[in-house]
């Protein structure tokens, strides 16, 4: 796992946490945003994401012993998804068309083809294995620095939004612009340095 070994890849945030003792709100907040497994039989959802325990990625009990390590809170973001390959649908549909034509001595009508395509997609969806990915999150409860151990910006944004929602916390990214803003800089007045960006005129940079 990224957090445990190997090269380190992470996005940095500063957190304004909820008030009170973290031991009280940590487990409750994680449970609010916990991972719910996909139910392909009963639900149309092809994707599910939420918090799980870091060492046991099926568990969502979030006991203090499972989440806290020293001054750190450690947990994971789990994404389960099922994706039916378009090529598989196409191949199955071709087989169905051949058997339809043999049986009825005519090609299927557009509506018949659309219905068959949907049926095939549903059947393949139930047979396709669910792909699971987990990403570590470390939160220093003393310094309130949070690291999301993931390379994909899309997933980083998803984790940040989920933490803000579940914890009622505010996350500030570690980007130069965010650090400048935290230091009191008025970002709306800040433009690129024309001499450095090679702009013909300063007015052309800030539109």
């Amino acid at each position: 796992m990224a957090l445990q070994s190997g090269s380190a890849t992470f996005s940095r945030f500063t957190v304004e946490p909820p008030a009170g003792d973290p031991r009280k709100w940590l487990s409750r907040a994680l449970a609010r945003g916990r991972f719910e497994p996909l139910d392909l039989q009963r639900s149309e959802d092809d994707r599910s994401a939420g918090f799980v325990e870091r060492e046991e990625t099926d568990a969502t009990r979030f006991g203090v012993g499972a989440v806290a390590l020293g001054e750190w809170a450690l947990f994971a973001w789990r994404i389960d998804a099922v994706a039916v390959r378009a090529s598989a649908v196409k191949a199955e549909l071709a087989k169905w068309e051949a058997s339809f034509q043999a049986k009825h001595r005519r090609p299927p009508a557009r509506a018949e083809r659309a219905t068959a395509r949907e049926t095939i997609r549903r059947e393949l969806r139930l047979r396709t294995p669910v792909a699971t990915r987990t990403f570590d999150v470390s939160w220093n409860l003393a310094s309130n620095e949070l690291l999301a151990w993931v390379a994909s910006r899309k997933v980083v944004d998803e984790i940040a939004a989920a933490i803000e929602l579940a914890f009622g916390a505010k996350l500030t990214p570690g980007s130069p612009a965010a650090i400048a803003s935290r230091g009191g800089a008025a970002l709306e007045k800040l433009g690129p340095t024309p001499e450095l960006v090679g702009a013909p005129r300063a007015a052309e940079v800030v539109r």
Partner: protein, 207 residues
Amino acid sequence: MSRRSEARSEAAILRGDAGVDGLDTAADERDAVELERDAAREQLLRGHAFLGRELLTWLLWRSESTEPLARVDGDDVGLLFTGRLVLRGAFGDVTELVARGAQAPYSAQVKRALDAGLLVHQARLRLEHGEKVYEATLDAEHLDVRAAKLPDLIAEEDDERLLERLFLSQRLSALLDALVGEFLAVRSGRGWSRKVVPELKRWMRGE
């Protein structure tokens, strides 16, 4: 033209989706070059990425002297750009340039490109803090840490090793914040346009 397609074009004209010449009114009439430049300009401004690019370019200039660039917890922070460097621009014919080679970041070719209005967008950095050495790839927009090499771990027990790794990751993050802090102090000062930028340009020109 069939009656059906004639009716379709007429309806599009009535809706205002197409002109009397039958062409899509919302069609993008910009050519490929303009589209590329607009995309490059959008990338420069998105999330104030220019600030990160100016930061990395400023760090490249300052690091050539091998003098420490900041101090964290009483120890100097030394910096060296190593290996691959990605430059991006928004106003010239070249929107991206990748330089590879151990000496590439400080080469005359890279300086010429910087002088032409490209800025450092992504770089591999080697940071020295006391006796610890870190390496990481950074991007200008988010300052996310990618493929970082942390100093060797001393602890032997699993939990202790994890805590040490967390500590080192946080320390790397603090070093980056210190460098950003140094840059922002210079960038927001009066001397930025009058003194620093001209000096930076002279360095790019090899003067």
